[in-house]
Amino acid sequence: MHNQEEEKIFLDKIDKEIKIEPKDWMPEQYRKTLIRQISQHAHSEIVGMLPEANWITRAPSLRRKATLIAKVQDEAGHGLYLYSAAETMNISRDEMIEQLHSGKAKYSSIFNYPTLSWADMGAIGWLVDGAAIMNQVPLCRCSYGPYARAMIRICKEESFHQRQGFEILLTLSKGSEAQKQMAQDSINRWWWPSIMMFGPNDDASPHSKQSMAWKIKRFSNDELRQKFIDVCAEQVKILGLTLPDEKLKWNEERKHYDFGEINWEEFWNVVNGNGPCNKERLAARVKAHEDGAWVREAAAAHAKKNPRPLKGRLATV
């Protein structure tokens, strides 16, 4: 078959909303775009475990401790599905991890901000997971089958995390004055970085147009950001707290909230490695990987010596 014919079949499928599967022909740029996006997403899940894991040992009740651990564990699970989805495009998990550690692959910049109080567990759930869901729900309809299917499961868990986060803030907002302040301070710190999660404005987003044509992406950055702001501006009222934007105001004509100017200089600074925790986050991942090297080698050596799986031989336990 000529490439042109293959490309026609590919575009036809995209047009008819038929999923592209791993063995189908696809343009090289489609494959590259998806590897970049899915691996970046997987890395975000894994690096994203760190800021929340930071509060596991200090969680204020046994119930909160258990749900926080379960949440961080869910993120590890999301990382696994996503690495697996990316592996269907002929790249190994090891290669992707190598790209993360060398700085070649990115992860969501939001995780380069520190978690400074217990309320941050609430704000991350409500705002960070909330923004992630806005981005990710349309990905359940992404043209690439394995990615779309992974996203369906991830979105279900993420929406649970978001409710959990909101509930943490709600509890604090009904608590003592000190707890209310803790919640407000946390929202003040996480709000702007959260709305930056949707990426640059549409006219400054280099990959968007082609991704929309290939139905990897369904909505523009600015559309999703606006939707998120509209939702949060209402939800924050339930908390009796405020979003730190003086220009936030309902615009009757647009039927949307107007909002203030995003500090894109900060955004690009953090993307380029100069956020408060970029170095620590990457160092923590590299350390876990390097400290684990002997464990992985031992497991591989043992498996080579003993082709029979251990499970069968320990049946008495």
Partner: protein, 259 residues
């Protein structure tokens, strides 16, 4: 009644403190799949702790005059007791070290819990029996998982074998505490709600020996008589103070708050 409360608290404290230690791995595990596995074990252990604390809270609330006392809950027990009131054994509060040490600590403890809970399933205290029965399913998995890792690491590479052997040298001395009964454990065994811990030693040793054999690791010689310095009697290592300082800080800093 005090003995039943203390016995229940000991079961809870062991699970909580080991869960706490293991949870320090979450996000930092050597392999993503194992990060998930150890976090699962943490969730089981914290679940067990909560069941036992909730029961202890009921016993305490029933035995004191509620008009004058703030009601006891699972959280007041976990977050507002001091070091010398915690009854966990010394083993579970030891630092994680490397993956070999964490695995070995889990294996020693899970093997102990496995035989202990088999007895406790038949406790004449219905609540203890029910929690033990439910937890035994989890513990069976913890024991299998940690046994598999002991074997992999012992019979893996030269480095992993020597790391395992080092872990054994570090932790072996803490295993005797399992089988030395405290006063409330003796009482519990006599009354039939607890297990005679000295009787568990034979099965435990056999399990350790079997797994170590397969892992090409050697079992250390019988311990010489040590001084009796036991966490189960409220005498801890220096590590527990730091664990509690970290764990309890929000509850201590903002008393009487709802989280």
């Amino acid at each position: 009644m005090n003995e039943l409360i203390n016995y229940t608290l000991q079961l809870a404290d062991n699970s909580l403190i080991l869960g706490h230690r293991n949870s320090e791995w979450t996000g930092h595990g050597p392999i993503l799949e194992q990060d998930i596995a150890i976090s699962n074990i943490v969730l089981d252990l914290i679940g067990q702790a909560r069941n036992f604390y909730q029961y202890a809270a009921v016993l305490i609330n029933n035995s004191t005059n509620q008009q004058f006392n703030q009601s006891t809950t699972e959280d007041t027990l976990a977050y507002l007791r001091n070091e010398n009131e915690f009854k966990n054994c010394l083993l579970v509060e030891q630092p994680n070290g490397d993956w070999a040490k964490t695995i070995l600590r889990q294996f020693f403890f899970s093997a102990y819990q496995f035989y202990l809970y088999q007895h406790l399933q038949n406790s004449n205290d219905e609540t203890i029996a029910a929690i033990a029965e439910k937890s035994l399913k989890e513990v069976t998995y913890h024991l299998r998982w940690s046994s598999e890792w002991i074997i992999r690491l012992g019979d893996g590479t030269e480095e992993s074998n020597s790391r395992m052997q080092k872990a054994i040298d570090d932790l072996w001395m803490y295993t005797d505490e399992f089988f030395e009964a405290s006063s409330y454990e003796l009482f519990a065994a006599n009354e039939g709600f607890g297990a005679g811990v000295s009787l568990l030693k034979k099965d435990w040793m056999k399990k350790v020996k079997d797994v170590f054999d397969e892992a090409t690791l050697s079992v250390p010689a019988e311990l010489k008589q040590q001084i009796k310095w036991f966490g189960k009697e409220g005498k801890h290592s220096e590590h527990l103070g730091y664990i509690l300082t970290e764990m309890q800080f929000l509850q201590r800093e903002y008393p009487n708050s709802i989280w």
